[in-house]
Amino acid sequence: MLAYIIRRMLIMIPTLIAISIISFTIIQLPPGDFLTTYVAQLSASGEGIDQAELDALRHRFGLDQPIYVQYFQWVWNFVRGDFGHSFEWNKPVRSLIGERIALTILISTCTLLFTWIVSLPIGIYSAVRQYSWMDYFLTFFGFIGLATPNFLFALILLWFSYAYLGMSIGGLFSPQFIEAPWSFAKFIDLLKHLWIPVLIVGTGHTAKFIRIIRGNLLDELKKPYVTTARAKGLSETKLILKYPVRVAINPLVSTIGWTLPELISGIAITAVVLNLPTSGPLLLSALMSQDMHLAGSFIMILSILTVIGTLISDILLAWVDPRIRFGARESA
């Protein structure tokens, strides 16, 4: 098991390097460097900046160096936890994104748990009672859930609650808590608002998971060992929960790998619609104003998060499914 984890972590290194190169490229893509934007902003507000000061700034941020030196400098700073400087906010990037990233992680974890808790019983039900009207209803509902993109669902929900329930469901905190420091009351307030984005982002994935569980379980239920167990007189509930369900869950663990990027994508855009204080809206405004250090750090951190998530899912899978563990030992 340990050998497998170490091997798996070694594979991560080239992935992380590639991610950092892509993120750095995105930072560099807009014409000019970020000081150009800064100077444009200053002159727009009527302030000038003289050439000597500009050169000093250029030197300070290493912009006078060749591009690969800038890259290594950026990565090195990143590793040390210095994510650069946001010109739009005139603050270090780190102080801006910390809480937002934490909230993104919180929402994605909750959504993942939500999708599992909801989809597991429903998936088992519709497999065991295949072609019942409930199965048809859930399948239909699942298709709608799959086809409605998160942000449009958010939009519809937002409109519905505003027009018919007379309340606004945007945001993650009540107005009095937005600027308040963290306290127990604020946490409770957060929980009250959290279910909406969780529901919105989770619906599509719940539908997908129900289909996966249903399909797998249907395959398993046809296998001879189920008939054997039934012939031996095992009760139906115990029989289903103990053997076929355990096999049918496996792919669910392995899908965390591609679920996480989708969840984080979904949260990013839902957050813009619902005006959540997570990474999405700030990333968007950073991209709009070409505040590239902020935007690049966001993209880099979100990607690293998914890589770590995939790592955790692989380790979980190896723990659940011994075949993977032993396969790894042979080749290691």
Partner: protein, 368 residues
Amino acid sequence: MNEEQQRLEKYLNASTRQLVWWRYKKHTLAMVGLAFVVGLYLAALFCEVLAPYDKDSRFFDSVYSPPSQVRIFDKDGAIHRPFVYETILDIDMETQKMSYQENTDTMYPIKFFVRGDHYEFWGLWRSDVHLFGVDKPARLFVFGTDRMGRDLFSRCFYGSRISLSIGMLGVFMSLILGVTLGGVSGYMGGWADSVIQRVIEVIRCFPSIPLWMGLSASMPPHWPGLKVYFVITIILSLIGWTDLARMVRGKLIALREEEFVLAARFAGAGHLRIIFRHLLPSFTSHIIVTVTLAIPGMVLGETALSFLGIGLRPPVTSLGVLLKEAQNVTTIALYPWLLIPVLFVIGIVLSFNFVGDGLRDAVDPYSR
């Protein structure tokens, strides 16, 4: 008995294509999806004729007009062919609230092949005939109008044209990338395989929307619409090809050891010929399924980017650009018809999924 024999004979003599079509026809939802997709593509092709107004023609006195009420009963309760009344904008001077009153004096029946806005059909010839419409001064706004008094019904079809074409073009580019890279990876194996697989892994672990946002936001704002359109398509397909490449690779690895490949090699066929003449045709159906299921993702990607304001920009009209108007809660609470493009998006995504599922069941020889 004889009839049954005939049927069996017909079954045994049928080509693969016919068998697939027969099996596909049994799938009701897939047929519904196919009808919707074909209908919408036709509508998108002929939207100049179908739409009662041009996508950019503005009615300054019909801003945020609700959908026209099509009636068959007049004010005395007599039945007529479908007609509308002329609507008159009424602004409450105190509250600045706009409302539309119907003038029930004259009826304006809905006519077919009426003359209206001029258009250039596919850039080939000029015309002004529209499939349906009403005489002036009445107006037919099937889905209402937007902030600038433009007909939403017409704009929805013009928007579908752009959104659907992005889906097609993006999938086409993904197809080229996916088949080429997946083909090299599966057929050659070795270091090329490992490199391509690593690249796919890296791309797949990027959260797509933040990456798309980053790439498309770096387009300079002064670029013309057409250029933005192509770059957006390229950005979408840069991520979309990985599924296809994985599928092609898996199939090629399974097939390359088959005898017919060996036979082709002995007959002196080159690698490219083997891949394109012998291997790819043996799983074209699977490629079609994957491609069909990839189109909704492209449409959604474009919608999401344009909705956020970093994708296509007006005057280019796509479903996402239309939805950008509906971003604000208060706007949609007052003018809920601005959400109608959502139904188009959901319809497109849903029917492509149905078609893809139906195809998958139909082409899979192991399914019943």
